[in-house]
Amino acid sequence: MTGQVLVLAEYSEQGPEGISLELLAHGRKLAGQLGAQLGAVILGSDLQRITCQLGETVDDVYFVDSPALRDYNPEVFARVLAEVLRGIQPTLLLLGYTYKGMELGAAVSAILGTLLVSNCTGIELSSNGYVIVERPVPGGTRARLECAMPLFASVPPGVLSSPDSIGRGHGRQISISCSSGLEAARVRIKEVFQVKNADAALTKADVIVAVGRGIGSANNLLPFREMAAKLGGVMACTRPVLDMGWLPQEHLVGLSGFTVKPKLYIACGISGASQHTAGMSGSATIMAINKDPQAPIFGVAHYGIIEDVMTVVPEIMRQLARLT
């Protein structure tokens, strides 16, 4: 076996993050095709439990376990990760298109001079030894790129299928010590805080009615509030809606907000950029309403309605009233 497909594993107290499991499952497939090992790389402190968990699924777990890595400091993590990658020389590094993956991927790509293709919606191997990646481009289209290895690629959560199992590995535990570069001299964490009202209303809801910029104005929120009330659901929004002050932060779904998996998610006037879909693509049923037939939201929705949202939603409300 030659080469290494490596996944930068993100984790919480509950274990590996969903995105990391998705990447490991996909990485296992690619490693099989390449005849390469599947590895996970993890940085932090008190990593014993998580490295054991990862060891059950991969061939090699590379970890840097240091009290200096207890808090996530991007500059320090980037420096350490670059050092680790320099040693492993992976054929392919997979990262989440998450806040951490975005900043660490960009930093190590620049430090090591390896191409990073970010925000990928597909990663496959070609028969002639290249990696074929897909990523969004403006105008509701995607581009397919042929890339030489070594390559770094990041994928948003929820794009690759959620794995039942990743397969078994030998689980070799490889501790890497970093003696220098751990001091966080230039960026110092002072305080971490939660936004007000950031309770779990959104993450526990069975039904979510989400609005995007396409609703046009804060004055247009009423029919969506009524729809949420009628279906026993709660309201959510995209980043632009928050930025314009139409709804407060506790309603934000996406990479910079909450990740939700309701039984029913109704996306109203939402184009479906990966920043938003990363937080909702795991919903059991998604209905999308958008007048732009090219909107990427139709790529994740189960049901699509290509209509002006302000016209069709009051009509749906009338029908709901008639049927119940």
Binding site: P74, A78, Y97, M102, A106, A107, A110, I111, L116, V117, S118, N119, T121, R135, P136, V137, P138, G139, T141, R142, A143, R144, L145, E146, C147, A148, L151, A185, V187, I189, K190, E191, F193, Q194, A198, L231, P240, D243, E250, L255, S256, G257, K263, L264, T285, M287, Q294, F298, G299, V300, H302, Y303, G304, I305, T311, E315, R318, Q319, L323, T324
Partner: protein, 260 residues
């Protein structure tokens, strides 16, 4: 304090997208060219900092002549100086390579940039540029305040409703999230005035780069651009609005188990 804001001119309405002749980029036919959204917030943050603490706010953009429209808008908003770097690449690697050289030439205490451009959707140029220059960087910034000449206090969004406050030593690069401040109004008279303001240009030669030095890099080629409606076969409800609404209502009731 010398603040440089990296801004990008992006297509507003996209008409067509094609693979470029060299297959290392995209030719986008756009109905309009606009200020990239998160860069607008980066400029706002810079202007607020300069207003409070003095100094100079410079805007810098990479691209062809078209980006000068956006640079003039930045001048109208209050930027002191505008610089166009005459180069343009699809990938973050070459972009950050050239941008780092340009920033070193211009000089700065603080670099602000948006988190993501709406055309590349990559979120990698700003952090990549900082990493190349060995600068401390913070991504997802929703607020910046000066502590003293050499330190800023930065609020960074972590997602899931939490944020953190960091002290960052200057020089540094911060990637600004949208929505942190409201964008201030630009009087039309300022827009007219800005039309006559000069824009400095930096070419690759002035950065000590031969164009082939930058182009050595691409280890990729773009094969094709395609529509992706089929990713998850969404069932499109079609017909008259009334009919669509009837179907939609029935589906919603079925999925919420509130059957008629």
């Amino acid at each position: 304090m010398r603040i440089v804001v990296c801004v990008k001119a992006v297509p507003g309405i996209v008409r067509t997208v094609k693979v470029s002749e060299k297959r290392d980029g995209l030719d986008i036919q756009a109905g309009s060219i606009i200020f990239n959204e998160s860069d607008e917030y980066a400029l706002e943050e810079a202007l607020l900092l300069r207003g409070k603490h003095g100094g100079q706010a410079t805007v810098l953009s990479m691209g062809g002549l078209l980006v000068e429209d956006v640079l003039r808008l930045a001048l109208a908003r209050g930027a002191d100086r505008a610089i166009r770097v005459a180069a343009s690449y699809y990938d973050g690697q070459r972009t950050s390579f050239v941008l780092a050289k340009a920033l070193e030439k211009v000089g700065f205490d603080l670099v602000l940039a948006g988190m993501e451009s709406s055309d590349s959707l990559g979120s990698q140029v700003a952090v990549g540029t900082a990493a190349r220059m060995g600068l401390p960087f913070v991504f997802g910034v929703t607020g910046v305040a000066m502590i003293d000449d050499r330190t800023v206090s930065v609020t960074k969004e972590l997602g899931g409703g939490s944020s953190e406050v960091l002290d960052v030593s200057l020089p540094a690069l911060l990637c600004i999230q949208t929505g942190g401040k409201s964008i201030s109004y630009t009087p039309p008279a300022k827009l007219i005035q800005a039309r006559r303001r000069p824009i400095d240009m930096i070419g690759l030669a002035e950065l000590g780069l031969a164009s082939d030095e930058v182009c050595l890099n691409p280890t990729f080629k773009i094969i094709e651009v395609f529509s992706h409606r089929s990713a998850r076969q969404s069932e499109i409800l079609s017909g008259q609005t009334g009919e669509i609404a009837r179907r939609a209502a029935a589906i919603l009731l079925e999925k919420t188990a509130r059957k008629a």
